[in-house]
């Protein structure tokens, strides 16, 4: 496939591997922000192409993982209300809540449907105007404009039976949280390519300046990641810190203005709780006042759910790159993708689930 195969070329990978080895003189820790990037790194064994001085830390960029348990419980509770159709991306269905997952609710008779796009959920709502259709909207800035468009369009069509259960998180505040932590180990970042396709890199310039940290916005193919690492190592070795764009074929400095316009009309910035990390101010979106009638949490008041995370789970430290899955005694024993104890094992893009798949 064009724009995929050429960025997986073994020769180019070997060349970059050699250039990285020639550039590095000191030990550096580089964090890739996105779960998708972590997946590529493990899937292609990219760490084996790096000199010993370079350690990759895996970041918090898996939105399914960081969706708080309370919200999973709320989704299950709403799905069980008669007349509701709960629509969601496939990877949310198996995330266990305190008392079962969405798939379990479906097995019990709830109408739970997997959709590929939020527009598919909108189609369901138009087809079933006597039912209440809820879309479990999870994702980073890459996904938020798509979910925003579904709501924007629902309003334009005058639909009153379509709702969003919002779990939108944003990347820059969590990168700042990682950097502020007293045990932070990150020397440089590979920035989130697709998030920046939407948002541009203005916010990352602020981060880079404030924390004096190199950020190389990178794509998701092996060549993209290796080139991102090379550029990051260059900056670290010469003692500089600025934002570079490795992913120029898909990212420009100002991002996608059309997407930003709808995004900021439908959503407003809000505090969000991150599973494994806790509350982070200004780290997500909720529906703006003008679209409050589409908010599932307003329309379906569900009693406050008290949840308790496993005391054996170290996902908070995993999400911040402070520990690796093998340093957890539960990894692969009492915690597996079938029976996850916490955030980083619940989705296939979580660091623990990725290690389980490729390294176990």
């Amino acid at each position: 496939m064009k724009y995929v195969d050429e960025f997986r070329s073994p020769e180019r990978a070997r060349l970059l591997s050699r250039q990285i080895a020639q550039t590095v003189t000191k030990p550096w820790k580089i964090m890739e922000v996105c779960g998708g990037q972590t997946h590529t790194i493990l899937q292609y064994g990219l760490e084996s192409l790096l000199p010993d001085q370079i350690e990759l830390l895996h970041g918090p960029g898996c939105p399914v993982c960081v969706t708080p348990l309370e919200l999973i419980d709320k989704a299950v509770a709403i799905a069980r209300i008669p007349g509701v159709i709960m629509c969601s991306f496939g990877d949310m269905l198996r995330v266990p809540g305190s008392d079962g997952d969405l798939l379990g609710a479906k097995a019990d008779g709830a109408d739970v449907r997997t959709v590929y796009s939020p527009l598919d959920a909108l189609t369901v709502a138009r087809k079933h105007q006597d039912r209440q259709v809820v879309f479990f909207a999870v994702g980073f800035e890459t996904t938020a404009p798509a979910n925003a468009m579904a709501v924007y369009h629902a309003k334009k069509l005058g639909l009153t039976n379509f709702f969003l259960l919002c779990s939108h998180v944003t990347v820059p505040p969590v990168m700042a949280a990682v950097l502020r932590a007293p045990d932070n180990q990150v020397d440089g970042f590979l920035g989130p390519g697709h998030v920046c396709s939407i948002m541009g890199w203005h916010e990352y310039q602020e981060l880079s300046l404030q924390f004096k940290v190199p950020i190389v916005i990178s794509g998701f193919e092996p060549i993209d990641l290796l080139e991102g690492i090379l550029r990051c190592v260059h900056q670290l070795e010469e003692g500089s810190s600025y934002v570079e764009n490795q992913y120029a074929r898909a990212v420009c400095s100002e991002g996608n203005k059309h997407a930003q316009t709808i995004l900021l009309d439908v959503f407003q910035v809000s505090e969000r709780k991150w599973r494994g990390l806790g509350n982070i101010p200004g780290s997500g979106y909720r529906l703006s006042e003008a679209y409050r009638e589409f908010d599932a949490e307003v329309h379906f008041p569900v009693a406050t759910i008290v949840t308790r995370e496993s005391p054996n789970c170290i996902s908070g430290e995993i999400l911040r790159g402070v520990k690796k899955p093998f340093q957890c005694t539960a990894f692969g024993t009492s915690c597996t993708p079938e029976h996850p104890l916490g955030a980083t094992m619940v989705s296939s893009e979580g660091t623990c689930a990725t290690y389980y798949k490729f390294r176990k």
Partner: protein, 85 residues
């Protein structure tokens, strides 16, 4: 989750007031909303995430990224080595 796949625009149409396109992903065709990439034209490659084109792939930039690597003499000697798995 932020996975986005490149595909080629084959046809552009309107559906219920939304800009849509038929996009070919290596032989698999899907309807994709291109409201966020209104400048996309037939034959462009777009990057698609959850049914939405999020950017038009800049062919010139893609070529430049690869050319910068391919221009080095080292690449030719590496081509003779065994493939990595």
């Amino acid at each position: 989750m932020c996975l986005a796949v490149p595909g080629q625009v084959e046809d552009i149409f309107e559906r219920d007031g939304l800009h849509m396109a038929t996009v070919n992903f290596g032989g698999v065709r899907k309807s994709v909303c291109i409201s966020y990439t209104p400048d996309a034209v037939i034959r462009d490659y777009v990057l698609v995430h959850v049914g939405f084109a999020i950017s038009v792939i800049d062919e010139e930039e893609a070529r430049r990224t690869l050319a910068a690597l391919d221009l080095t003499d080292e690449l030719n000697e590496l081509r003779t080595e065994a493939p990595i798995e």
